[in-house]
Every structure is written in C-alpha cells, then in structure tokens.
C-alpha cells in the first residue's frame, strides 16, 4: 500500500491544473510582452489569471506580484519592509521564533545590515499572542512578519488580531501564508494583511510559482531587476503555464475548501487519536487551532530518521524534524521553539494530509507507525533506561 502523507512538503498536482498547463504550453507559448496578436493573447490569459487569483484572496489584480514561489515572495516582502525602514529611519522588525527559514535567514541578512530583530515566543501551543506583539512594537518598528500557519506543527495564528495590532500601531504586517492559502479562507482585507506570500505547489498546483500580495500604496522592492514585468517589480518573462496552473488549482481549492476541510479534519483527528494511543507520545501544537491536514507528534525514546525510513519501506511518505533529516546537527527549530527538549524533538513525525487521503490510509498508517515505534524502542538504550526506571519519562 502506498500512502502519501507529506502534503506540507508538496502536493500532487491536480489533473485539471496539469491539463490547463499543457493546453497553455500548446496554445499560448508567445511572450505576454510581445505586441503581436499571439503575444497579446498570452497577455490576456495572464491578466485573467491574475484577476482570478486576486479575487480569490480579496485583493486587486495590481496587488499581485508573481514570483518563483514562497521563498522568493518572503525575501521580497522583507526587503520591501527593509527598504521602507531604511528610508524612514525605522530599523526594527518583529517576527516569530518558528518562522520558515525563508523568513529567518532573510532576517539574519537584515540584521547584518543594522536591523534589530525581535522573535516573539510561540509558547507550548505554537500560537503567537497579540498582546505580546503589541508590547514588542516600538517607535522604531517598521514591520511585523508572522506566518499564517506553521509548516511543521500546523498551528494557525490569530492573523486578523495580529494585523489589527499592527495597523493600530502603524506598522506593516506581512504574513507567510504558504501553508494557509488554498487550505483556509484567507482574505487580505478582512485579515488586516499588508503583504502575503504563497506558493502553488502546496495546493495541488505546480512547483516554481507563487506570488506576493502587496497592498496598494506600499512601494515594492525589486528583488530581480531586468524587464518591466510585474509592473517593474519582478523581472523575467512570466511563467504563464505555471501561473495558469496555479490559478486553476487555487480556484479548485477555494471552491471545495469547506467540503475538503471537514473531510480532512475528520481523518486528521482519527490519525491523532490513533497515534496518541501509542504510549509516551505527545502531539505538537494546539489540538484545535491547527491546519485541517496537519499531524505532528513526538515519540519518546526513538529517533525520527530511522522512523521515516522504516515507514518508507512500508509505503508511507512522511517527514520528521529530527536533526538527521534536516541535514544539520540540531533538531527542528520549530519543535525547540515550542519547548520540546532536544532528545524529544529528535523523535518527531509529521504526517500531512490532503483530500486525496482515505480512512484506509489513516488506519494503515496508525498500525504501521505503532509497529515501527515498537521496533525502534526495542533496540533503543534510551527506551530501555526509561523502562527500567533509570530515567524519568519526559512524555507521560
């Protein structure tokens, strides 16, 4: 049996998005910047896709800047904030401790350019507090960037409330909504968002395409210079097939959002209950304020990479925040940020669902995970010490 539970990493493209892209590559290969008829026809397709995507997010079409994906959009958003800050003499940016590295590494770069960075606590439940944000904002603050939903533990942030605080205090509000767009009813106006990043491959669209929403009136920083595409803010011939694929996928995701959310959340809860019945297992992130498709747990006494490889042998595609899978020596910064000790964070497992999963997938996964966890605990000296009472369990 093959079970794909790594949808937060990427999703399978929908047939409709693939067909739309292939049709576009066949018929609309001309450059939208060209003046001939074929070019103008491509330009019309581009505009229609831009308008549709904007509308689905509550934005205007000239507030959407297509990018190569979420990371580029995050970089451009923070550089936009930094350029404004440098001009008006405000050099403080607030973010959170469990942002994606596209945000954290860009903030490191800005730090070297003289910006002061405050990373808000995300607490054990994985939720940023609006009152703590309010306290962190100073006269010097130019921008706040808080992700809409966390990519590892799936916790959904009180974005509307955080945006309201920012607007009350007169600072820009950016959100990395890569995990939220297509999953949650995101609306840039009612959510008080000034800048928003998203990426198509997280909602069954193609890879290599995303966008940055920037509210009208905010001067956008040009990260990639060259031609006049994207109103001069992002050079490079538009990737029209990918943009068309993204539009098709986003529209489908928004149309079936509530139906999918209900179905996926039911499977998620079944999966969480099943995994928590394995002794000494803990759920990471708030149980209810999380993405419909996110499950993230830690098992005491074992290591995540071994778990992943054994699950892979059983046909299950999953992910882990263990150091061994991250390629660094430290386990996931997200799990450390919610207060999990290193030894517990190493034993994490992330399973992320989509509407394509079935109850059969979930039941098979629970029994496979139970078997693999037992097998790894059997050979673990840490587990032996815990069982023999030489050490106390961290997870009860």
């Amino acid at each position: 049996m093959q079970v794909y539970l790594d949808n937060a990493a990427t999703t399978r493209m929908s047939r409709a998005a693939i067909d739309a892209m292939v049709a576009c590559m066949d018929a609309n290969y001309a450059n939208p910047s060209s003046l001939h008829e074929a070019g103008q026809s491509a330009a019309e397709k581009l505009l229609a896709a831009r308008q549709s995507i904007a509308q689905l997010l509550g934005a205007d079409s000239d507030e959407i800047y297509f990018t190569s994906g979420g990371s580029e959009a995050d970089n451009q958003a923070l550089e936009t904030a930094a350029a404004i800050g440098e001009r008006i003499g405000k050099k403080h940016i607030i973010s959170s401790a469990f942002e994606h590295h596209a945000i954290l590494h860009t903030l490191d770069r800005l730090k070297k350019r003289g910006f002061r960075i405050t990373l808000l606590d995300v607490h054990e439940d994985g939720i940023v507090r609006a009152d703590e944000l309010d306290k962190a904002i100073t006269q010097d603050t130019v921008c706040v960037s808080i992700m809409y939903a966390n990519n590892e533990i799936g916790t959904v942030q009180p974005i509307k409330e955080l945006g309201a605080v920012c607007h009350k205090r007169g600072v820009l509000f950016h959100t990395d909504a890569v995990q939220a767009v297509g999953q949650l009813p995101v609306n840039v106006v009612s959510d008080n968002i000034d800048m928003l990043s998203f990426s198509a491959h997280k909602f069954h669209g193609p890879k290599g395409i995303g966008a940055l929403y920037v509210k009208k009136g905010i001067p956008v920083y040009t990260l990639i210079s060259g031609g006049a595409q994207e109103r001069g803010k992002r050079a490079g011939t538009e990737n029209l097939p990918a943009i068309i694929g993204m539009e098709r996928a986003l529209k489908a995701a928004c149309l079936s959002m509530s139906e999918n959310a209900a179905k996926i959340a039911k499977l998620r809860d079944r999966l969480i209950d099943g995994l928590l019945s394995i002794p000494h297992t803990v759920l990471n992130g708030d149980r209810t304020r999380r993405l419909h498709g996110n499950v993230n747990v830690c098992f005491e006494g074992i290591e995540g990479e071994a778990l992943l490889l054994m699950l892979s042998d059983m046909g299950i595609a999953a992910s882990s925040g263990s150091a061994c899978t991250s390629g660094s020596l430290d386990p996931s910064h997200v799990l450390l940020a919610i207060g999990r000790p290193h030894e517990i964070a190493h034993g994490s497992l992330r399973l992320t669902l989509s509407h394509e999963n079935t109850q059969e997938d979930i039941d098979y996964t629970v029994s496979a995970v139970r078997q693999v966890v037992e097998q790894l605990r059997e050979i673990s000296p840490v587990w032996r010490d815990l069982q023999e009472g030489k050490k106390d369990y961290v997870i009860q």
């Binding site: 263990s322 150091a323 061994c324 030894e343 050979i379 673990s380």
Partner: protein
C-alpha cells in the same frame, strides 16, 4: 538514495541487537541531545569476545554502524577489537554520507568504551590514551 544498500540492509536487519545480562564489559557513548546513543555489551572469555550485543538510539546510519561494528568484533581477540577503526566500519558499510561519518566514530568509541570497562573491572592495566573516549559534548555534536 542517501544510503548504500549495505547500510539499509543492516538498518533493516540489525545483527546482535539486545542486552547481555551478565556482560563482562559495557560501553555507552553519545547522548540523546545529539540524537544518538550507542551501548555495547561484551562477553569475554580469555582474550576473545565470545558474544556482543548492542542497543542504539539514532538514525539509520547509527543503527547500521553499531550492527556492523558488532559483527566485525564478534569472535575476535580483544586486540583486533581495539584496532577497529571508524574508517573500517564505514568501509564495511560501503561508505556513509559525509555528515553521517560520526556514526561510525561513535561505533568505534562504543567498542573501546566497553573494552575499557572490562579492563577497569578486572584491574587490567591498559593504554589509557588508546582507550580515551571522546564525549559527544566535545565531539561531533557541538
């Protein structure tokens, strides 16, 4: 594929897993904070390792390295076990990715720690330098 077939084979079917209740020497290296701990148990008769078992908390390469190291020293004289290098363990596994080489170092150290424990218990004088075990804290982890 990240790992060689040999690593995956030892990971899937680790040899000599378990604990020897009346072990003559026990060595434990690494720590959970770093993500790997290896514990090796030796049964020694005369000068020969007649049995060896291990427990490992860690990734696939840590489990495979412990499995391979125990195979390489089982039935061998202590002098052979002391001469076991991390390089030999990694080579026997058809290589490890660069960032996983510390797993083979850990295996070598676990073997030496167990032999040192045996010597200490029996009051055997030994070359401390050869048996010095680098703690994870000042080893690969930091």
């Amino acid at each position: 594929m990240l790992y060689s077939e040999k690593v995956m084979e030892h990971f899937r079917n680790p040899r000599n897993v378990g604990k020897i209740e009346d072990a003559d020497g026990v060595g434990e290296v690494g720590n959970a904070k770093c993500g790997d701990i290896m514990k090796i148990y030796l049964k020694i008769e005369g000068d020969v390792i007649v049995d060896v078992k291990f427990n490992t908390f860690g990734c696939a390469s840590a489990i495979a390295s412990s499995s391979m190291a125990t195979e390489m020293i089982k039935g061998k004289p202590l002098s052979d076990a002391l001469a076991l290098t991390n390089k030999a363990v990694a080579e026997a596994l058809d290589g490890l990715p660069a960032h996983k080489l510390h797993c083979s170092v850990l295996a070598q150290q676990a073997v030496r720690a167990a032999i040192k424990d045996y010597y200490d218990r029996n009051g055997v004088a030994c070359d401390k330098a050869q048996l010095s075990v680098i703690d994870c804290e000042d080893g690969h982890c930091e």
